[in-house]
Structure formats: structure tokens, C-alpha cells
Symmetry: D2
Subunit: 343 residues, 4 copies
């Protein structure tokens, strides 16, 4: 049994509580929230769980091995650092921290202490994304990754649509692509005076001809959550709105053959088309969060490394930060700092 405390009982916290509660290997000992009026229903449903507004209660409980944070981004660094320093394993709601420096320090602290630091990129544990990661190795040379995530949605206070929504697509992309972006160009706009951007477009460049693009938007009349991922052999469409056929693999693409006969077109290619079957693989629709939390607990038990570890969280913050800087300069290219090797 691994002792767990959950911090933050707003939008996401109840999901953590419900899922930890259902996992036999977890001993959910505490739920902590500063707004204690939120915790009323909790006391009735789960009378055995300790309820507190004092984060120290978790840190001081020697039976708490791990802390899961579902608090506002601005608090991630401080709370996670305190938990790590108290020797607790930590899972942090995405994004892992508000700045690159903070994320780096959390990663360093966890490495130094040999603690598991996970970031809650739940989408990576969905059947659709797991299938996409499995399929991508067979699609040939990857041409592009294009993600759209728009709807008339929850405008977040004090954060832009990039930090709120694009982080999902960037983390999925980070997980399924074999390459990492080296530069970014982002544009966007705010339509609410005094608030951050509610619409944004990100182009990511790689050292190959792979190109990625993310469109996120809180102000769309329809809900679209669709990713196109095209390779030289196959193309994948991931449509998260589809109830069951979320992943479709198209056996289609282009064929290239030398164009010219003489010397005039040595580098030029003729384009042909190839079209075959489409296949929608069966997806196991078990709950992603359950899988994610079980993996987190298992990493604690076995000193393993979670799918979305602190390094992944740090890479995302680097991208979000670079995107924000490019956006402020209306699309000017911003290089992405490459991963520092921990030594």
C-alpha cells in the first residue's frame, strides 16, 4: 500500500480522489484544499479520508508516500518543491510549473532525491494516444502533425489558451513523435480585454522536414479535437470526438519518382498518389486516469520512470514558454532550448 494525499479539490481533484480510492494499492489518506466548503460532500462519501486545509498535515504524515497536486499552476512549484523536500513522490497537474526555471528545479530536486516526479498528462494514457504511438512507427517518414482543439469552452483566468489547451497537444506530440522540435512560431489574439490569448496557432519546426501545427481556441461554435499525422507510408486521423472510432489509419500517400530525363531536373520529383484501405483499430476504452495513477504508484514501488516524467513536464514548459514569446512578437521564430542532460 502506498500512502497518498491529494491537494486541490476543485475541477480535477475529485477525479484523482475517485480513482485513487478505487485502486487497492493506494491508501488515500488526505485531501487538502484551502476552500474547505468544497470538501463537505467528500466527508460524507469517504469518511475514512482525512480532510484538511493545511498542507503540512500531508507532509508530516509518515504514511504519506506521494502527493498529487491539482491546484492552480501558480502554486505548483512551491507545493511540489515542499513535497519533494519532505521526501514525497509527486504528481503534478499539467503544466508542471509556471516557468522553465521552476520546472528545471523540480526535475533536479526529484533526480537528486531519487523521487518519482510525474506530470499529469492524462491523454497519454488514453487508448487512442497509446494506439497512435504504436502505429506511428510504421507510417514511414513523418511529414507533419496537425492538431486542432477548439470549442466554446471554459475561459481560464490568468492563463492563455496555449498554457491551458495546447499543452495537451504538445504532450501528445512529444509522446508519439520520434523527433523533438527545435524552433517555434506562434500567433494568437485575445478578445477579452485584459485577459491572455483565447485563440492561438503554433507552428513547430524540427531538424528534418517534419512540421507540426497546433490550433487551440476557446471561442469556437463547434467542438473539434482532430489530429492529422501523415507519413510517407500511412496517414493517421485521431478524432477524439468520435465515440469509438477515434483512430483511423489510411493506407494512402504520395509516391515520388524522378521527373526529368535530362540534366535539367536532377532534384525534381514527380508526384503520384496511392490509395488503399482505411482501418479503425479497436480501442480499449478503459479509463486513462486509472491507468496513469496505477503507473505512478508502480513507479514508486519499483523506482521506475513514468510515461510523463518531470523531464517531459519540463520539455512542455519550454515549448509553452517559447510559444508565448513568439506570440508576443507576432510569429517571430523562437529557438527551443534543448534538453539539458542531468549529471
Amino acid at each position: 500500500m502506498i500512502g497518498v494525499g491529494v491537494v486541490g479539490y476543485g475541477y480535477w481533484g475529485p477525479n484523482l480522489v475517485r480513482n485513487f480510492w478505487a485502486i487497492p494499492e493506494a491508501d488515500l489518506r488526505w485531501v487538502c484544499d484551502l476552500q474547505t466548503e468544497r470538501l463537505g460532500g467528500l466527508r460524507q462519501r469517504f469518511p475514512s479520508i482525512g480532510i484538511t486545509e493545511n498542507f503540512d498535515d500531508l507532509l508530516n504524515d509518515p504514511k504519506v508516500d506521494a502527493v498529487a497536486l491539482a491546484t492552480p499552476v501558480s502554486t505548483h512549484f512551491k507545493l511540489a518543491m515542499r513535497a519533494l523536500k519532505a521526501g514525497k513522490h509527486v504528481m503534478v497537474e499539467k503544466p508542471i510549473a509556471a516557468t522553465v526555471e521552476q520546472a528545471q528545479r523540480l526535475v533536479d530536486e526529484a533526480e537528486r532525491r531519487g523521487l518519482v516526479l510525474a506530470v499529469d498528462h492524462t491523454f497519454l494514457h488514453t487508448a487512442a494516444v497509446r494506439k497512435m504511438a504504436e502505429l506511428v512507427v510504421n507510417i514511414g517518414e513523418i511529414y507533419y502533425y496537425d492538431a486542432v482543439r477548439v470549442n466554446l469552452g471554459l475561459f481560464q483566468q490568468d492563463t492563455s489558451v496555449i498554457w491551458d489547451l495546447a499543452v495537451h497537444d504538445l504532450s501528445i506530440m512529444d509522446h508519439v513523435l520520434p523527433e523533438r522540435p527545435i524552433a517555434i512560431s506562434a500567433t494568437g489574439m485575445s478578445h477579452v480585454p485584459g485577459e491572455p490569448e483565447n485563440i492561438a496557432y503554433l507552428t513547430l519546426f524540427f531538424s528534418s522536414t517534419l512540421i507540426a501545427h497546433v490550433h487551440v481556441n476557446w471561442l469556437a461554435p463547434v467542438k473539434i479535437r482532430r489530429t492529422l499525422l501523415a507519413g510517407s507510408k500511412q496517414m493517421i486521423v485521431y478524432d477524439d470526438i468520435e465515440p469509438s472510432e477515434k483512430i483511423k489509419v489510411y493506407d494512402k500517400g504520395i509516391t515520388l519518382s524522378p521527373k526529368g530525363h535530362g540534366g535539367e531536373a536532377l532534384n525534381s520529383m514527380k508526384v503520384g498518389y496511392r490509395t488503399g484501405d482505411m482501418r479503425a483499430p479497436h480501442l480499449d476504452l478503459s479509463e486513462a486516469l486509472d491507468l496513469e495513477l496505477r503507473e505512478f504508484l508502480n513507479c514508486i514501488a519499483t523506482a521506475g520512470r513514468p510515461t510523463a516524467d518531470g523531464q517531459a513536464g519540463l520539455r512542455m514548459v519550454r515549448l509553452l514558454d517559447a510559444a508565448s514569446r513568439s506570440l508576443a512578437q507576432r510569429g517571430a521564430i523562437v529557438q527551443i532550448e534543448q534538453e539539458r542532460v542531468f549529471a
Copy 2:
């Protein structure tokens, strides 16, 4: 009767011929193409039309009032200029010319001679775009215009996907929006060695908070032709794949109210949501090209100005040119030269 000659009988020319032929006010006198083997079926179907590979046959025929060009972009300037100088009215396939300077010179020549210069932006004459232009005046402050035009399509030789596909969306946008873009940031990539870009993303900035984005792609597994157009009062979805309900108007949006009580948040706004009915107006699905050609003939008869006149064609070339320059610098912002007033 207005005498007409069609030049170029490849992909688009036959549509011009078929439509001019069916309009009683048009006297289709000539079809001209350098590849005369293309013209065989034509002779059989329309024995009364003159067939030639010599452009001068049209220019020298005093009964030819107007020339319609459906030839490669690289020939537009030269052919159109010769036709104008011969006193013919001209309709040019999009884009009107290969460079801003060429486009400007055609506009100037037509103005000087009082001839009609039209550019063949057929989409402007579709029922869907006409309806969108009619609806847009009632959607309140316009937040964004987002267009996607992708499929596994005809890779064009020697031209990029921007000049081939984005020109459609830019011309629709030019027609329906009350503002004109002032700057552009574009990104994209070529996946065929030696060929121009086959995927591109364009962000257009305006002097207000309106933002526009166009995604064009020749290499997508699915066909998407969808535009989102959001205003403060209503939002429009234009989906050209839909067989009949191409335009949907959503009576939804956000409401803004001052957030704070004290002085701390003077500029800050609280966001609320408003959701009402959706409506798909009935569209009159008569052929766009027929309407466009009739308008062209009517402008000749009445000294009128077509929906897509030379100035519109010039504006598009300015945008395409600016997009290409931004793309070459990986998203760097490029200012768009504002319209010169002809004096």
C-alpha cells in the same frame, strides 16, 4: 451579344467554354490552346467555334469584345496585357499574375483604357459565400476567421500550395470581411525535394483584434474545407463538404462583464456564455461559374465593376507574395502593402 474568346483548354478552360456557350448574351467565337490535340472533342461538340493556336486570331477579330484566360499563371501578365492593349475586356484565372508589379500594371492598364478586368475567383459566386457575406454584417464584432482547405490533392508543378489553394480562402475572406489585413506570418514545408511548399499555415493580422488563419495542405488523408467565422453576437461555420447545409449560423458566443469590485481589475472582464439556436439557411445551389460569367458580361455591357475586379486580384497577389516571403523566414511578420489609390 458580346463576343468572347477563351484561351487555355486544360483543366478549367472547358468549364468556361461550357458556361459561355450556354449564355445567350455571349457569342463564343474562339478557343485558343497551344496544345491543339486537346481541342479535338471541342470541334465535334461545338462546330461553330473557331479553334486556333494563335492568340492573335482573337486579338485581331473585331467581334471579340472579351478574352477569358485559363492558362498557367506565368503567362497571365503577358496575355492579359496584350488583350488589354488590343482593347479587349479580360477575365483572368486566379491568381491574376505572378508578381505584385505585374498585377499592378494590369490594373493600371485596364483603368487607363476603361476596360473591365476581372479575376476568376469563382467561390465568391457560390451560394454559400454569398450567404456568408450577407450574414457577416449581423454577427457583431468579428473575432476571427479560420479556414482549412486540405485533402490528398493535385500537387501542382512549380507553384506552392499557397498560390494554388490559399488564394481561394484569401479571396473569400477579402470578400466577406469588412477589414483588410495589415501583416502576415506564414509557415510551411515542402516534402517533395525540389518542389515548393505542399503544406502552409498563414496568420493574418488586422488593425483591430480580428485575426485570420488559413491552413492549406495537398497531403491530407481526409478532405476538409471548413471555415469558422466568429463574432461577438453569432458564429458561422461554412463547410463546403456538406452537400446542402454548407452554412450554419450559431446564435452563441461569450458575454463580458466587469470582473472586479474594487480598483484592482479595472480592465479585467468576466466571461459568460450564451447559447441559442443553430440555423442552416437554404442555399440556392445554381452554378457559381454561370453567375460569375453573366456578371462579367453585364459589367462589359454596363461599364460596371465585377465582384472580383483587378484590384481584388492585386490585393490577393500582395497577400500571396507577403505570405511567401514570411514563409521563407519561418513566420517572421511581413507588412502588407496597402492599396494604392488610382489617380
Copy 3:
């Protein structure tokens, strides 16, 4: 406060419990199930509710005003009759009883005692069906009602797809149509040896030219829940799979004008077409079961009559029974017994 007991805690019972629990006007006193192992989680979540396997505990509790039955159909009559005789108001899961005679006796008993007898036709309280009932009065002369409810679904033991699924469509139809069917022709088939039909087609005739049809199927590769309702002025599509635009109203139809000039075609009509806008009215997606239970409690408090009263339940059983008899004769027409007026 109205005292309530829920009987049956299998598939549907937990929904009744959760909803009654959340309604302040309800005092949920008992949950009864013969399989007491099902009730474990309940005790933990709702410690104040009495748990029993003895139905008499509910009947003998003078604070229990109403009993809600979510038990197998075969038990409905016996349990409901005992509850009515104990002076309790009763809500019964659909269908109200296994035979017409049983349903009639329940109706009679409730009328005699002045008790509320409701049948749980939850769909009638959904926003979509309420909207459809509101719209139907304006669609002109009603031509047909066509419902399809198919997917790869829960094969029910010991009951046919008609009694399990068609009852939903028949009750919606009963609610929204101004006429009642007078005869039925049904066909179907069982593909599981020894089990009732898993696919069925019902045609219902009315005294006018209105015709209705229901296709229900447990063995379909895709989920379809679509109803077409056509009138002389407007046509409605109710698609329950759509996440939000479940109801679409088409302003289209046919126009009839006398065909002939002379005497030869006096009764003959020429058909024209009329096509206008489509509209998807905004639907208030609050939970149907909550509305239904509140209405039930309100009827108890005010001696009112629920939307789906015992008479509605009886009408449905008459239709199901007639459909089963027609199906056994491979489509032979079966007259539907008309409503007996209670005197």
C-alpha cells in the same frame, strides 16, 4: 417532504436513488433488493437510508408515501399492486406490466384509491422529446413517424427487443403525436436459439393517412437512434446520438396542386417541392430523470397526473402485446384495443 422507497438496485435503481437523494422534497427512506450484496456501496455512500431485502419494510413504514420499482418486468404487477393496496403512490419502471390485464388492473386500482401511478418513461422528460412535442403542433398534417433504435447492445434475457427497446419509441410517439394507432403489423426474428426476437420492425396504422414505423435491433454494428417526423409544413429529425443538436426542423415539404385540366384526373395531384432553412433549436440539457421524479413528487403533493401515467403505461402494453401477436403471425394486421374509459 415525501417519503420514498426504491425497490430494485440493479441497472436502473442506482439512478433513482441518486436522483431522489438530490431532491430536497424527497425523503429517501428505504432501498430494497433481494440481492443484498448489491447494496454494500450504498450503505457507505448513503448511511441514512434503510437497506432491506424485505419489501414489507417499505409497506409498513407509514412515512413512506411512494414506492419506485426498478425490478424485472415479471414482478411489476405483484409489487405495484401490493404497494397500491398499502396506500402508496407508485412509479414503475417501463413497461408497466407484463400483460394488458395486469396493466389494466393496476390502473383501476390506482384510480379507485386516488393514488398516483406513474410509469418511468424517462425519454418523455428529455429536452429533445419535450421540444419535439412543442414543435409538432406546427408541422401541419402529419405524414409519418419513423424511428430507428439499433446498436450492438445488451441482449435481455427472457424479453424481446420489442418489450425492451420499442417501448421507448412507442412512448415517445404516444406523447408527441395527436393521434393514437388503431392497428399494427410487426415482423422480426430471433438469432439466438431459445431466445425472443432481437430484431423487429413495427408498422402502426392510424385512422388518418398517418403511418408510423419502429425498427429496433440489438445486433447492429453501429448505434443509430434517429426519428423522422414529417408533416405537410415542416419535417423534424430527432437524432439522439448528436451531442447537442438533437432536434433539427426542416422547413421543407411537398406542395400539392390539382393535376389535370379536364375531368379525367379529379382526384389526382401534382407534386411540387418546397425547401427552406433548417433550424436546430437550443436544448436545455438538464437531467431528464430529475425532472421526471420531481414531477412525480409534485403530482403526489397536488393530486396531479404525471406525463406518463398508468393509462399511458397501459396503452404501451397494449401496443407491445399487439406487436408481439402480429410478429408471431409474420406481419398479420392486429387491431389495437382502444382505451377503456374508466367509470
Copy 4:
């Protein structure tokens, strides 16, 4: 070269002319129509084709080997019989004749004379139906065939929606199913005074537990052309509205295992579910009519038998006739006369 004459130049005739014209093996010699004003454009486009209002011109031309009839159903028998008696091969628009007796006599006449008699069931030559016929052999025991063909369509004069639309689905079904129906129950309604039914529902019974159903409707607000075909191993959805993925094969179904332990449920089965991938095979979208006409010409050249021969046409008329009789009796079962073996 096979000499061909086309009779009837209304809705369908021009398609026959265009396709025969494009086939090198066909020598299209005559087009015949009583309404000669229809033939004007034809003379201009195809000056080498003889135009006549006299059917005898075709019969008397020794170079005419085959006649294709695209005239009203009421004329099929008379014209086809005259052509056969003149020694011409014949292709008749569907349905082959207005009565079973007429169809039988045409079949007999063609057999006796050794002439090819084809019925124009174009759908059988589409890529989708050919693929379905290919796939059906692997779907296991076939449970049902369910076809819907509805839209707001062309009300036909003097014929019911069964003879106009259901004939398509019945001929596809006849082609892809390994069994033939033995009885039919049909219902329907006319909503235009003095005209035949515009909505109809047909259930077809077979000697196995296979069941088929066809819903045809001229008065629907949306266009649906969807067939479900379920077997014990796989299920197929054929959606003719889909632009390219018209056929989807679902690797899903039910599994049956004996239910009981003792003697009480010897025949009873427990139902389980199986769900695997979905696959949309690539379809070759070449024109069906072209394939059909080439097959007809080839049968003439090689004394072969077309996919839809006179026997198939006769079987369809038997079904249409049985359906009409059942419909007149509101669903009463009507046995289908089994195929007579020609001797």
C-alpha cells in the same frame, strides 16, 4: 463492333448514349424518342447518330444488334418483345416489366431465341456493391439485411415508391445474399390523393432465420442510403452517401454459449460480445454504367449471361408484385413464387 440503338431520351437515356458513345466496341447507330424536341442537342453533339421517332427504324436496321430501352415501365414489355422477335439483344431499364407474366414471357422469348436479355440494375456494377458481394462470403451465418433509401425526391407519376426505389435494394440484396426470399410482408401509405404509395416498408422472410427489410420513402427531410448487413462473424455497413468510404466492415458480433448447467435450458444460449477493428476497403470508383454496358456487349459477343439477366429482372418483378399485394392487405404475408426452371 456491336450495333446499338437506344430508345427513350428522357432522364436515363442520355446516360446510356454518353456511355455507349465512349465504348469503342459499340457502334451507337440510333436514338429513338417519341418526343423529338428532346433530341435537338443530341443531333448537334453526335451528328453521326441516327435520330428517329420510329422504333421500326432500329428493328429494320440489320446493323443494330442490340437495343437498350429507357422508356416508361408500361412500354417495356411491348418494346422488348418486338426487339427480341426482331432478333435483337435487349437491355431494359428496371423494372424489366410491369407484371410477372410479362417478365416471364420476355425471359422465355429470349431463352428460346438465344438472345441476351439484361435488366439495367446499375447499382450491381458499382464498386461498393461489388465489394459487398465479395465480402459477404466471409461474414458467417447471415442474420439480417436492412436497407434504407429515403430523401425528398422525385415523386414518380403512376408508380409507387416500391416499384421506383425498392427495386434498387431488392436487386442489390438478390445479388449479394446467398438465399432467396420466400415470403414478404409490406406496409406503406400514400400521402398524395389519387397517387400510389410514397412510403413503404418491406420485410422479407427466408427459409433460414435470415430476415431482410427495406425502407423506401420519397418524403424524407434528409437523404439516407444505408444498408446494414450482419453476420455471425462480421457486419457490413454500406453507406452510399459517404463520398469514398462507402463500405465499412466491422469485426464485431455476438458469441453464443450454452446458458444453463442442468436440463432446464437445453436450447437456451448466453450472449457475449466481440468487438474488433473496423475496415473501409478502398473502392475503385469507375463508372458503374460503363462497366455494365461493357458487360452487356461482352455477353452478346460471347453468348454470356449478364450479372442482371432476364431471370434476375423476373425475380425482382415477383418481389415487387408480392410486396404490392401485401401492402394492399396492410402487411399480410404473401408467399413468393419460386423460380421456374426453364426447360
